[in-house]
Amino acid sequence: MDLPLILIQALNAVQYGLLLFLVASGLTLIFGVMGVINLAHGSFYMMGAYLAFSLAPLTGNLLATIVVGLLLSVLIGALLEWALFAHLYRRNHLQQVLLTYGLILIFESLRSRFIGDDVHSVSVPAWLDFSIPLGDVMTYPAYRLFMSAVCLLVAAGLYLLIQRTRLGSQIRAGAANREMVQVLGINIDWVYRLVFALGVALAAFAGMINAPVTAVAPGMGMSMLIVSFVVVIVGGIGSVWGALVASQLIAFADTFGKVFVPDYAGMAIYIVMAIVLLWRPEGLFKS
């Protein structure tokens, strides 16, 4: 195996891992803070991708698409939390699983009915549509480097938000003890709504920036959901730091699995998960 090939695959893995982190961090936050498992999380990722597909021709530029898309996602997230998810906080796991599964069915059907089942592509924005040469025959798309950079920024922003701001401390406190936080006069309902909307926005954002790189197709939400589940299991439910580490681990397992053992590539991430679980049944990190 030559070095340039390994290097390119490693770059691909890092980029994929950062993308996974965006989605998984939302999932783990929602579970860690509100104790709700959200199977429909993959649908938010899909929603982001389809938003990018529908908005791109309207706005004509990437930045505008993302801003509008994010605004819509936050609104939708807050609305869903108020209407449905807020009722789930006191329910048992089975009911949460069932209701969010029902939501997946509804989202998928609505998408099928209003947008259709065709596979679409979103163009890479013109100013990023070039390749950086690596070696004599190979090039690496600049857009993918841009994606990695953006995801890193978002990850850093998330860290700052949770560790260094007042809102962040409210979130952390709310996760630990809901009643206590309420007694202190903080409106816990709005904290939860915010966290949920943040989770949705993260997943949708991931869908939006990944759209030019992958096909926008039915089933994309489902695949992303299951992989992010694995990330959360490996990283530890509720741990954002765990999600970061685990997403890189899973991304590398997946990418290099496809290179070295293509016939077993689909299983690679689950084998990694099984090994981690043997060693640490609760995941790598505690929340």
Binding site: D2, V119, S131, M138, T139, P141, A215
Partner: protein, 391 residues
């Protein structure tokens, strides 16, 4: 809960008995309408292809006044969603519940193979207007299962011969599924027949479109040419990714279907791409020109190879029906007539091998603008040897 089901079940049975009696009565008449079961995708990746096939089939019937062998044609249509896991259920609905006289379908090979199994088990006449899986006219061939499109091997073989004209080494890239494997095998046989050698076969799971790692590997191997088999939206992305990776000019890309129906979406990335197929844009054959005019007038759109395949499926069925004067009960005679049929297809002369697969000319084409223009005939009257078919 059980009580409610009981009542519903009784009503269902009564209704069923009534319907069954009517159905049996209608079916027995050799003068009533002929039921054509169209099991094609109207949603999903292959929806467009499904619609084209159906439109081609219906065009032939319309040209004959909505009748075949004097009997009115009635369509029973079902969306197969290109989903192999639902294929058994869907095929059974058409054959056992709706009792169609002929089963037409489909695009996706996996679905078609299950349909063929159902057709074999129930001795229902079936015509495949696209799916190229080898087994359908190979190891699982049957007297009552015909195909008017191609076997995956055929276009692959022809493309292999085409690529071998200019290159000595090649690498293949395909989705890991039946169609991909067979197409690659055809390419390999044709390429080696032309004096070349296939160095490596790369593949990724269907319908994955993360081509980046494979393109990277292809670049490292540095063959003289590359052959690709992916379909639907995947072919758009592949051709674009190929160009974006800087490979378009260093390693010429060949394919069979890779530019069918997607040249506009592929744009500049596909220009000059060479392919081999049993049809091409602007073929100077009288039947083709008449077909294009007729299609354009009826649907206000241009036909493509899928419409031709659907049209020929209707032609073939009609040939069988004419031989028995519309009496679908005379199955053996119908099948014999269809086996011996020599059709004038828009693609050129069309006949069938013992395995019921098309014997047809293969054309070399080059992507020019938005059309795949024929350059010459690579091989005349190519038949798939179908070594596994015991007919």
């Amino acid at each position: 809960m059980i009580r409610i089901s009981l009542r519903r079940r009784t009503l269902q049975c009564a209704a069923l008995l009534a319907c069954a009696t009517l159905a049996v009565a209608a079916h027995a008449q050799p003068t009533g309408p002929i039921k054509v079961g169209l099991m094609l995708p109207t949603s999903g990746t292959f929806a467009d292809l499904g619609k084209k096939v159906a439109s081609g089939f219906k065009l032939y019937v319309t040209e004959n006044g909505g009748k075949l062998a004097g009997r009115l044609v009635q369509y029973v249509e079902l969306d197969d969603e290109s989903d192999p896991s639902k294929a058994n259920e869907n095929a059974n609905k058409l054959v056992k519940r709706d009792r169609v006289d002929v089963l037409i379908g489909t695009i996706h090979s996996g679905v078609a193979m299950t349909m063929a199994r159902v057709a074999r088990d129930t001795n229902t006449l079936m015509i495949v207007p696209n799916a190229g899986a080898a087994e359908i006219t190979g190891s699982m061939c049957a007297p009552n299962v015909f195909r008017t499109s191609f076997s995956n091997w055929q276009p692959g073989y022809a493309t292999g011969l085409l690529a071998a004209r200019k290159h000595k080494t090649a690498v293949t890239i395909s989705w890991k599924y039946a169609a991909g494997d067979e197409s690659v095998r055809g390419f390999r046989e044709g390429f080696e027949k032309g004096g070349g050698k296939v160095i490596k076969d790369l593949h990724l799971p269907f319908p994955n479109v993360e081509f980046q790692p494979l393109l990277t590997e292809l670049a490292t191997i540095k063959p003289e040419a590359a052959y690709v088999f992916v379909a639907g939206a995947g072919q758009v992305k592949f051709v674009k990714d190929y160009a974006a990776a800087g490979l378009k000019n260093s390693i010429p890309l060949y394919g069979a279907f890779i530019t069918e129906g997607t040249l506009e979406a592929q744009g500049e990335a596909a220009s000059g791409l060479q392919t081999a197929l049993h049809y091409a844009d602007g073929l100077k054959i009288p039947k083709n020109e008449a077909f294009i005019t007729s299609y354009q007038k009826t649907y206000n759109a241009a036909p493509d190879v899928f419409a031709v395949q659907g049209y020929d499926a209707a032609q073939l069925f009609a040939a069988g029906l004419q031989a028995v004067k519309g009496d679908t009960r005379k199955k053996a005679e119908m099948i014999k007539a269809m086996e011996d049929a020599k059709l004038e297809s828009p693609r050129g002369p069309l006949s069938f091998s013992k395995s019921r697969n098309p014997i047809q000319d293969m054309y070399a084409r080059v992507a020019t603008g938005n059309r795949n223009v024929m350059t010459d005939v690579i091989v005349k009257a190519l038949a798939d040897p179908s070594p596994d078919c015991k007919l």
